[in-house]
Symmetry: C2
Subunit: 236 residues, 2 copies
DNA sequence: CCTCAGTTTTGAACACGTTCAAGACAACGA
DNA sequence: TCGTTGTCTTGAACGTGTTCAAAACTGAGG
């Protein structure tokens, strides 16, 4: 029933082979057009074997997200440490994120087609992708921490998560962006990054502070709705 | 190939029967759990007949949106004319919208699972749902026009569409809202409606005006990307 | 070498959404 | 009454994602 995260070097190898074949076919033909039988054939296994390692066709995409995040971190590398300017740091993270995902633009739409479905394990808000989400938020926290940016009290705790939401917005735009080389997305990044810093600055002004506080409060209230309580002791 | 919008009273009757059966099953069992064979059985027709009227299982949802919009307008009725206060008007539209869709909360998730997919005909941004989208935006234009609200030049043209996007956000929240009676959604409406008016007011201030202008400009630039050109003369 | 438990692999079988060639039906003019 | 034409209806058949009982393999202990 529950798919296995291979317990043998050979098993791990097979798993990789299936994932490679799947991503390759997804990239060249699209997700919907690729059948599990094609994947199995390309990986030289029986169709049932693919289901031994991946619970469903969708789960292959979750595995893709993980791989993609690793790729992103690799590209980002030590480059983040070369500047202390907030805008530079944020722009760098976003641009490399898009760079890393570029070959899989069409596939990435799946991220959002499930984002809204509260029950889909593929949703970036689902418990299944919680570790990956936490990772991405951690990167944003690093962006802020490594910069000289002064953040208002009200915003400080939630800023990394807000930046992650902003990142998701950029990716949503990118997924729809059919301009050559996705130049419009890069332009969007370059134009909105300064706005983000300005907004963070503005949030400290007495005029908008109450509004900021209310918005942040609503975000906090929303969170448990998106990710169910999960009490300390597992009940069953 | 192309499904038909019945040309006979009897055909129209069959079409309604199938849609009724489908929505009933969707509501009680959920969308994924309902099979086309069940729908056909409940409507006393053969499976193939369902496909004569609806191109796919998804298209049944599009038909549901249309019906739901009519229900919304019916509930809204003449109530919109009872007040000239912008906040009251906006709140009324949002609350009745949620009221009308309430029995189909789970089904409505489908609206968003496809919203992000540029190719899905179910997406609220797709050409297929353009008429319905235009209708919803028109309602928002009426909300503004019938109120004494003073809108800045920069915002005026795009405000109805922005309000529609805000409405979509509210519905997105509602779809995820599992609180009893969806009270959290109603609370969200009550808390954000004043913010919206305040934002519209703030947009006129010299400090934020350039930012507003840039944001609106980006929205305008985005539109043709979401909805392809569609030149004056239909080519085919 | 054999045994045996654990792991991996197989492929037929299932239910689903969807298609399509064929038939049934309805309205109308000859 | 009989074709004829356009609309509607049927149900078997196809390809899909997914399941599962059975087989094959692996490696450690006797």
């Amino acid at each position: 029933m529950e798919p296995v995260r291979s317990k043998t070097p050979k098993g791990e190898q097979t798993r990789e082979r299936i994932l490679d074949a799947a991503l390759d076919l997804f990239r060249t033909q699209g997700y919907a057009e690729t059948t599990m039988r094609q994947i199995a054939d390309a990986a030289d296994v029986a169709v049932g074997n693919a289901y031994y390692y991946f619970a469903s066709k969708d789960q292959l995409i979750l595995a893709f997200y993980e791989r993609n995040h690793r790729d992103h971190l690799a590209i980002l590398g030590a480059a983040l440490d070369t500047t202390k300017d907030f805008q530079d740091r944020l722009r760098l993270v976003l641009r490399t994120k898009v760079d890393a995902a570029m070959p899989y633009r069409r596939l990435s739409t799946k991220l959002f087609t499930s984002a809204a479905d509260p029950e889909s394990p593929l949703s970036p808000f689902s418990p299944e992708s919680a570790p990956l989400r936490a990772e991405a938020i951690r990167v944003m926290a690093e962006v802020v921490a490594g910069s000289g940016l002064r953040v208002g009290k009200d915003l400080r705790a939630d800023l990394p998560e807000l930046l992650w939401l902003y990142e998701m917005g950029v990716i949503l735009y990118w997924v729809h962006d059919s301009s050559p080389g996705c130049e419009k997305t890069y332009a969007l990044i370059d134009r909105t990054v300064p706005m983000v810093e300005r907004l963070i600055g503005v949030a400290k002004l007495p005029v908008v502070r109450p509004m900021v506080r209310e918005l942040v409060g609503m975000l906090d209230e929303l969170r448990p709705a998106a990710a169910p309580p999960a009490p300390a002791a597992a009940a069953e």
